[in-house]
Symmetry: C2
Subunit: 243 residues, 2 copies
């Protein structure tokens, strides 16, 4: 149960020691990432390491977590990537339409995320901390320019990795009866969040820092009170997708 | 390095022993799944266990892997799920637009996949085998009906889990220089697959079963020779998304 116990203690880490990650460890993290499942073995993703300090700073500005991204010893950007396939298809004078539709887009997101999550679990098994940074989607066009991304690629998230300075307590997840159902989607069970709101209210009131009198539902209503990243659809169109 | 070594030996398993998985193990797999990262703590996914044999058979027909899905002792369907949030927003008379756009759709796919991959690594740490089954997307409308899925949900993939009867050798992944680049996307390096094609040709010629004289690029050209699952976009529209 060692691996599962480790997973249950997962928290995002945004405060890292100033300690570089050895090349051999980076290599292992990359091999772990790519050993996960991939839809029909298409491996529809790429990984870009951000080593250049100026680029780290520019990315940090986009994500609005500047302190965090700037100080992370290791930053990878995960790219949903169908360009590799496009290059092969074009070399053989084939039609690109099979790459540009919703199905292929979803495959590339799933492939990239499987790889990233493998990297996270691998990193945590070595005592490292990680944080997903979806904030790079705040300005997809700028990230594209910064990383020289070709068509049919989408910068999905960054992953920061380093030795933790401090770790929070894990947040209480949805009770299993609000998450899992048997044989069909049970609307009443999934959406009756009264117990969870009670539980999260206790958590937010009593945690070590950033205490607040709020429930999960209240946080959620606030989060979804405005349309986020509305230029995503236009970005995908400019990248050659036709969803 | 134990966890990483386990990951490097990952292969999909489609042939399981007729041995049930104890309730306590299922519980641990679910807790592992939901302990992964989730975008802004929104937890935008659900999990449906398929216990009913008739439903398993119907799903198997859709996926065209009937033998495999029918015989798996444990089958979960992972659902990208923004309905839980819609129910909360509606209860409080809020606008649903923030849930229906591309950004929220992507968040729900990433959240569901992080959870699924945690479950896979957890299962393999206990000696179980797993297989992702994207084939449930062959008929999204039928799966929706079968599982009684509400609006703003998408059945993403199934996961079959069981004790392996046999395991293949891991397939050789992309060489790291075709996958990873530093500071920007290196088009020439990413797309020069000559070495990989040589390597995969050797692999397919020499593996234990289903030997073939083929390269990764040839397989890939074949796979992307036609548009797959073209009704995905229409399904998303009918589910209430506005990408």
């Amino acid at each position: 149960m060692h691996t599962i116990e480790q997973m249950k203690h997962h928290v995002s880490v945004r405060n890292y020691q100033k300690k570089a990650i050895p090349v051999e460890i980076k290599q292992e993290l990359l091999l772990a990432a790519q050993s996960g499942s991939t839809s029909n073995f298409v491996q529809a993703y790429s990984i870009i390491e951000i080593g250049d300090q100026a680029k780290k700073r520019q990315l940090a500005e986009i994500t609005k977590f500047s302190g965090h991204l700037n100080q992370a010893p290791l930053v990878y950007v995960f790219v949903a990537d169908l360009y590799r396939h496009a290059a092969q298809l074009e070399k053989h004078h084939r039609d690109l339409a099979p790459l540009t539709n919703t199905e292929s887009f979803v495959v590339s997101i799933v492939d990239a995320t499987i790889a990233a999550q493998n990297m996270c679990v691998a990193a945590e098994s070595l005592g490292l901390g990680i944080c997903y940074i979806g904030g790079i989607r705040n300005d997809l066009f700028k990230v594209k320019e910064l990383l020289n991304l070709p068509k049919l690629t989408v910068p999905l998230f960054a992953l920061s990795i380093g030795y933790p300075n401090e770790k929070n307590d894990p947040k209480p997840r949805l009770p299993l009866n609000n998450l899992v159902s048997m044989d069909s989607y049970k609307i009443d069970e999934i959406t009756n969040l009264a117990n969870y709101d009670e539980q999260t209210s206790q958590y937010y009131q009593n945690r070590n820092s950033h205490q607040a009198n709020i429930t999960w539902t209240e946080k959620d209503l606030d989060f979804f009170s405005e349309v986020r990243r509305p230029e995503f659809a236009r970005f995908l169109k400019e990248q050659g997708f036709d969803l």
